[in-house]
C-alpha cells in the first residue's frame, strides 16, 4: 500500500463518488431490472467504495466505482441463480393522463426489453447497460471495462441488434 491519502483529498474522492449515485443506481437497474434491488445494490456498492477509497486511491473514480457496481451485481446474480429465476416486479403506478391499459402496455414493452437484455451474453450486456442505463461515453466504457473503444462500439452494435431482434420477434409472436 502507498502513503495514506490526505484527509482533504479523501473527502474530495468521497464527494466525487457520491456525485455518481444516480449513474451507479441506473447501472444496477440495468443489471437487475427492478428499482428496489438496484437501490440495495447501489448502497452496497457505495458502502464498499467508501470503505476502500482511502487505500485504493482510484485515479478514475467513475470507472472504479462502476467496476465495483458490476462485481456487486454479478455477485447478486450468482446468489439469485442458486435461489431460482428472478422476475422483475413493477413498482410503478400509472402516471397523470395515462390510462391503466396504456400503462400496462408500456410496462409490457419494458418487460420485453428487460427480458432481451437479460438474455444477452455478459460481455454485450455490460456495454449496453453502461451505455444506455449509466449513460457513459464510449471512452468511459472502455476505461471501465479496460477494453478498446473499437471493441466497445462493435459490442454495443451487436447488443442493440440482438435486443431489437428479440423485441421484434416478441411483437411478431403476439401479433400472429
Amino acid at each position: 500500500m502507498g502513503d495514506p491519502v490526505p484527509v482533504r483529498e479523501e473527502a474530495q474522492v468521497r464527494l466525487d463518488l457520491l456525485a455518481l449515485k444516480d449513474k451507479v443506481f441506473c447501472f444496477c437497474l440495468g443489471f437487475v431490472g427492478n428499482a428496489a434491488d438496484a437501490r440495495d445494490l447501489a448502497q452496497e456498492t457505495f458502502a464498499k467504495a467508501l470503505a476502500h477509497c482511502g487505500e485504493s486511491r482510484p485515479e478514475n473514480p467513475q470507472a472504479w466505482i462502476m467496476r465495483i457496481a458490476r462485481n456487486t451485481c454479478l455477485d447478486m446474480a450468482r446468489r439469485r441463480k442458486s435461489r431460482g429465476p428472478h422476475y422483475p416486479v413493477s413498482e410503478y403506478a400509472a402516471g397523470d393522463g395515462e390510462t391503466p391499459e396504456l400503462h400496462a402496455g408500456r410496462e409490457e414493452e419494458i418487460r420485453i426489453v428487460r427480458k432481451a437484455i437479460d438474455r444477452l451474453p455478459r460481455r454485450l450486456r455490460d456495454v449496453l447497460v453502461l451505455r444506455e442505463y449509466a449513460e457513459l461515453s464510449y471512452q468511459e466504457i472502455a476505461q471501465t471495462l479496460r477494453i478498446g473503444s473499437g471493441t466497445v462500439m462493435s459490442r454495443l452494435h451487436r447488443a442493440r441488434r440482438t435486443v431489437l431482434r428479440f423485441y421484434r420477434e416478441e411483437h411478431h409472436g403476439k401479433n400472429t
Binding site: C26, L29, R39, D40, A42, A47, A51, E91, V113, L164
Partner: protein, 180 residues
Amino acid sequence: MEKTPERWNEIAALIREEKNQALDYLRSRDFDPRAALETRPVGRSFRLWTQRPGLLAAAAALFLAVGLVSFWLLRGGWKSAPTAPAWSGILADSLLYGGGDRFEARIPAAGSLEPVAPYFTAWAKAGLERAAVAAGEPFDPAAPVERADPGEVRQKIGRMIRAGAIERLLASMEKINKEV
C-alpha cells in the same frame, strides 16, 4: 457493418422511461450506504478469508501444525517416520496390517498356536489344499502372503481362474460344509 436499425430509438425511449420511474423511486427513499455496510450478506466473512493471502497462509500453517501434533500424538515420536520404507509406512497405517505386527509379537512359534475356531481352520485348510492340488502346485501353509510379489500373486490367481480351481474350491467347501 450493418447499420443499427432506427427502431432502436423506441427501445431507448422505453429504457429512459424505466430509468425515470426508478429514479423517482430512489429519490422518494433514503439512500444510506452505511445501512448496507451493517447488513452485509452472509458471504462476506468467507470472501474476506479467501481474498486475504495472509489469512490463508495462517490457516495453512495452523492446519500443518495440527497435522504434525496429531502425528506425534499417534506415533509417540518421530523415530519411526524417517526409517520406515515408504510402502511399509503406508501399509502400517492400515488397521489390519498395522495390527499384524502386534499379533506376530505375541505369537510364540508357528504351529504351537491353539486355533480359536478349529472347525473353521480345518475347513479353510482343506479348501486351500484342494485348490492348490487342483492348480498343480504344492500347498505351503507358511507362505508369507502379505510379502509376496503382487505380480506373481496375480499370475497365480489368473492360472487358478483359468483352471476353474476357484469353482472347484467353492464346490468342495460347500461339500465340506454339508459334511460338518
